[in-house]
Symmetry: C2
Subunit: 213 residues, 2 copies
DNA sequence: AGTCTATATTGACATCGTCAATATAAGAGG
DNA sequence: CCTCTTATATTGACGATGTCAATATAGACT
């Protein structure tokens, strides 16, 4: 997943003459896009920048993604697949079943911390094209992981029960999502700097996740 | 606040000849920007579009805001001031002190629902210039309202107490912020459509806010 | 009056997304 | 092997955008 060494066969070589056809330009563009996202933020991620970083001409992305929204959507889909993977891994790693929710919540926030640009891209609908099947599928899969995690207690389908279950699930989702968003946007930095001693994000996150226990 | 009639003195008049100097171009640009934000979303809000909508030349905003980030930041500052006002009004309207937190939470989400574009602009740091004093002040004021609302229980300044208090405050903030963000981004639409009967956003929000009681 | 300064316009440039036209390579079918 | 077709990539162009420099205008101040 983090490999990518086998994909770039002609970009940086000393041979100098790139073949007219890249061979795996789609993957190269996605990798370049993620690199740009991490380095320059989402505003630096443009079609032309991605093409440049991948060593292609400025209009090359059109063949593979059609559109800027297409490139961003495929990248977001990739992010959602990784996101699901990490959430599931965290759930599996939790020993006791009652620790699962907390473990998933921590994995949720940690993913946002590790990949802030990607996370923001995934959860900012404006620039994405939700009609893309790959994005739809990846999003649905991630949502399913979250729903399954929060809705562990089995309940009937009657309205009041359903509302209560949905409320618990959305509350848990909102809690971790809001924390991640506020943190990524630097909204908690001032608070943390005013805290005594060496209280960091982890302690605060533990407190936030553990408060409802 | 929603007036603005007295500011546009020469834009749409039948007289036709605009004076070289607008007289209140700064306010006109801000009003035009908010109109564009509501109509076309944040991607449609450009310097030139704002100038166009205000009936000025394409470089006019430079004199008042210097920069695109400047215009967006002033608009965000305006949003934060309105935000604080509504949160405080909600806190005042709450009869019992124990209802205050819930009232502020609902006001928080309602603000996001009423002004999604503005809310996203306010809480997306990428395009803002936080070195602007007006934005800083407006943000700090809003944060103070939230902090005061969540930290009603007075506690000492020792580390463990401070951590617990910060945890409660951040948890409450994260909960409403995450709910607002997910809702605005359409992430809860699928969930709501699958709910039986006529369960709407309000019921779900009540459930989310009441779950911790 | 005259001058100064804030305000607004015009024109230009680099960059961006997107399209049409063209070029190149790879594979299919003879 | 040789054509023909198709997928892939490049080039050039266009309008839109942010930003800057140069210029124009009008109100303020002396």
């Amino acid at each position: 997943m983090a490999d990518g060494s086998s994909l770039s066969n002609a970009s940086g070589g000393a041979g100098g003459k790139r073949p007219y056809h890249h061979g795996a330009l789609r993957e190269a563009l996605l990798e370049a896009s993620e690199r740009i996202l991490d380095r320059d933020g989402i505003n630096g991620l443009t079609l032309r920048a991605a093409a440049r970083e991948a060593g292609a001409s400025h209009a090359a992305p059109k063949n593979h993604f059609g559109d800027l929204a297409g490139l961003l959507s495929e990248l977001a889909a990739l992010g959602f697949r990784r996101f699901s993977f990490r959430l599931e891994a965290a759930a599996r790693a939790a020993k006791a079943p009652e620790d699962r929710g907390r473990a998933i919540g921590k994995a949720y926030v940690h993913f946002a911390i590790d990949h802030p640009g990607l996370f923001l891209l995934m959860f900012r609908g404006e620039r994405l094209d939700f009609s893309r099947p790959s994005l739809q599928e990846a999003m649905d899969a991630a949502t399913a992981v979250l729903a399954q995690a929060a809705g562990s207690g089995k309940g009937g389908a009657e309205a009041p029960q359903a509302l209560a279950r949905a409320g618990r699930m959305v509350a848990a989702w909102s809690l971790v999502h809001g924390f991640a968003m506020l943190l990524i946007d630097g909204r908690l930095a001032g608070l943390l700097s005013h805290m005594p001693g060496t209280i960091g994000i982890e302690a605060l996150l533990d407190e936030v996740l553990g408060g409802g226990r």
